[in-house]
Symmetry: C2
Subunit: 81 residues, 2 copies
């Protein structure tokens, strides 16, 4: 299993949130409103700048119609051989 | 997909951390020391009382030789039909 230090978890989460949001055709504002957080926080998450809590990860997953685990799973290419 | 509200994510995380820790034969103290947090925080996590951040979830996963996604994945039985 690749050492976690090789993975930038914030970047993984950022990319997954952005992809899921776009797949649903949601704006950052719409996702922020649904999850009860500020749009700038969603923007910060998607730039890999935020360190959200477990419950916020779960709330975002719910509004993105996915699971917390999926949002923390690196896209296949990112898992170093 | 079951509504996230049906899943107690803190409980899922608690059970997964405890199971992974025990599988490695680690005490709460040893895991806390390795992850650089207080033993009482590990105890709180395992009682489903804590709301850890993404980076702490990742650090715990690393020291438990698993992945953040695995720690947030409900055991098969918990996913309501």
């Amino acid at each position: 299993m690749p050492p976690a230090v090789m993975l930038d978890h914030k970047k993984v989460f950022a990319e997954n949130v952005k992809a899921a949001r776009k797949a649903l055709g949601l704006s950052q504002e719409a996702l922020a409103f649904a999850a009860g957080i500020d749009r700038t926080y969603v923007s910060g998450i998607e730039r890999g700048r935020r360190n959200p809590s477990l419950m916020l990860i779960a709330k975002l997953a719910e509004h993105l119609d996915t699971t917390p685990a999926a949002l923390l799973t690196p896209p296949a290419a990112e898992v170093s051989p």
